[in-house]
């Protein structure tokens, strides 16, 4: 009986749901639309004409390439660091009991719960106190703080499902620690690591706040976009780049979703 009633939502609810979805996604579609506009200075609706010229212009702009390369490098390195440290931390927390385990678990997750601005300020003052010049590596370190969380959350969920006796069985059959990791642990956590790594990459790729505090003269792609909005010059170029960013971050998240949908959720996907 109840399910019959639940089958049909009342019309006002349907309308407001549609409006909500439009509100969320129409602006994104507009960004895509203005990547093709012929008008350079301001965004008028409807666009006076459509063109593909901005793709060629973007392709030939060295500053776009510099920002894109930097972003990809930062995201790759931050993800690599996060994969190693996050997995080790997840293994320690889920495979052994030690004093302060819960506290460690909380402290690892904290960077994603803290507002980015706090992480940014904290890192900036720490770097200047330690006399570390702001560089590519300070950006990577900043990004790694929250990338670790994503990897850790995914890995810890998988470790919990992994029966502890599998590791013992492997050792019992003559495999040392490295062989056990290579042949038993890694195959069983691989999809979780892939999902966590992709999310970490996506998070790092569009991060603005922490980056502004930890970057020196370099601009990552999101920072570059922010700067472009302030001085309008070939505005649709920004839209073209925005399209690329959406695709680059959306595809890994979708892939991560499909890799892990059997069973565990993608922890931290909401950031």
């Amino acid at each position: 009986m109840r399910s019959d009633r639940l089958d049909r939502a009342p019309l006002p609810l349907k309308i407001s749901a549609c409006l909500g979805l439009l509100f969320l996604h129409l602006p994104i579609l507009l960004i895509f639309l203005y990547a093709f506009t012929t008008e350079e200075k301001s965004y008028r609706f409807p666009p006076p004409g459509l063109t593909l010229q901005w793709f060629a212009v973007t392709w030939n702009r060295p500053d776009v390439w510099a920002a894109l390369t930097l972003s990809v490098k930062v995201a790759s390195l931050a993800t690599a660091i996060a994969l190693v440290l996050g997995t080790l931390c997840a293994a320690a927390v889920s495979r052994s009991a030690f004093f302060g385990r819960e506290a460690v678990s909380l402290l690892v997750i904290l960077p994603i719960a803290l507002p980015g601005i706090i992480t940014g300020i904290a890192l900036r003052s720490a770097f200047s106190m330690a006399d570390i010049p702001f560089s590519f590596f300070t950006i990577v370190l900043g990004h790694a703080t929250f990338c670790i969380v994503v990897v850790y959350n995914n890995a810890v969920a998988r470790f919990r499902r992994l029966s502890g006796s599998l590791v013992e069985a492997s050792m019992d059959l003559g495999a040392d620690g490295f062989q056990t990791f290579r042949y038993v642990i890694l195959p069983n956590i691989a999809t979780a690591l892939l999902a966590g790594g992709m999310l970490a990459f996506a998070l790092s790729f569009d991060e603005v706040i922490v980056t502004t505090f930890t970057a020196g003269q370099q601009s990552t792609l999101p920072i570059w976009m922010l700067e472009e909005l302030i001085r309008p010059r070939q505005r649709p170029v920004t839209n073209v780049v925005a399209m690329v960013v959406v695709l680059v971050t959306l595809l890994p998240i979708l892939a991560a979703y499909f890799l892990t949908r059997d069973g565990d959720h993608i922890a931290g996907a909401g950031k």
Binding site: D172, L173, D176
Partner: protein
């Protein structure tokens, strides 16, 4: 030759004495059962042999070589785990061949060895499947094959039949026993099921609160339990108190008397007798179970079917042979 030797071995977890001063010697080629209730330390003892635990104090030898500090992967013993612990991402054949693979044995050779091992546990042709596609009994056999393919000198079995239903269990008990005799391997078998231990093992160690209470052949354990705990745990034996023993002219803290040793009627020469009031009788097929009240203590008698069962409430005399009354160490 002594396969496994424990000398005053203890394993403490904080204040919990999981294993407390255990001495054991398992001979080569023996089917040795560690019997005890859960938490009695039997599984910890097995893990000490496998190398997953290190003793807090004491000394362990495996075939005359000290085991301290030797990691599990350098011990020539293999374990069949309670939950089987098959690798879910590998096929059955790769599971069985795992031990050979990590030792660096060639693909063709380990494939052949794994197929032979699967045939030995009556699962030929199952190699391509994944563990998830097998039943509990089949997984149990794969776990056995995976351990045996490494030709261990000692096979450790941690409640391997616990997850199987009764019929399969009895079948596997026989198969394990046959396999052990054919291969001439040393088996150490952990179980909380006394009938399983008694029917399969050459010798049984009864564990209680981290200590070994008695080691002996199944018959010794059953007929001559050393302590009240062993008598209670191993079978539904009657335990006579110090007062009851005194009534029989014995000065002992306790004594055990098997229900099937009790005969109705006055004691003959060389027999002892007691009087009791029957309070309940039940028919159990081959026997009639009669519960008697002997001065406040309950004594259970197993009477062969066909013998007359006395009416409840009427005092009766019963007798037993002197040697069937077994004096125990403590109450």
């Amino acid at each position: 030759m002594t396969a496994i030797l424990f000398e005053n071995v203890s394993r403490h977890f904080g204040s919990v004495r999981a294993v407390d001063g255990v001495d054991l010697a398992v001979a080569e080629g023996e089917f040795f059962a560690m019997l005890g209730p859960s938490g009695s330390g039997k599984t910890t003892c097995l893990r000490l042999v496998a190398g997953f635990e290190q003793p807090t104090s004491g000394h362990i030898e495996i075939f005359g070589e000290t085991a301290e500090g030797v990691p599990p992967y350098r011990r020539n013993v293999n374990t069949v785990f309670q939950d089987y612990a098959l690798f879910p991402h590998l096929s059955i054949l790769d599971n069985v061949a795992y031990g050979l693979m990590v030792k660096g044995i060639g693909k063709a050779e380990r494939r052949r060895a794994a197929e032979d091992a699967l045939a030995m546990v009556a699962l030929p042709g199952y190699g391509a499947r994944k563990p998830g596609q097998l039943s509990g009994g089949q997984r149990q056999r794969v776990a056995l094959a995976r351990a045996l393919v490494n030709r261990p000198r000692v096979l450790l079995l941690d409640e391997p039949l616990g997850a199987l239903d009764l019929k399969l269990r009895e079948q596997m008990q026989e198969e394990l026993k046959t396999l052990q005799k054919t291969l001439g391997l040393t088996f150490i078998f952990v179980t909380h099921d006394q009938s399983e231990a008694l029917s399969m093992a050459d010798r049984v160690a009864v564990f209680h609160e981290g200590k070994v209470r008695q080691v002996g052949t199944p018959e010794e354990i059953y007929r001559r339990p050393k302590t009240r705990f062993v008598a209670d745990f191993v079978g539904s034996s009657n335990v006579l108190s110090r007062e009851q023993c005194a009534r029989l002219g014995l000065n002992a803290p306790a004594a055990s008397l098997r229900p099937e040793s009790i005969l109705l009627g006055a004691p003959a020469d060389g027999q002892l007798g007691l009087t009791g009031v029957p309070i309940a009788a039940s028919f159990l097929g081959p026997i009639n179970r009669l519960t008697l009240d002997c001065g406040g203590e309950r004594i259970v008698a197993a009477l062969p079917a066909g013998t007359p069962v006395p009416a409840t409430g009427e005092p009766v005399t019963f007798a037993f042979n002197r040697q069937d009354l077994h004096v125990m160490e403590e109450a």
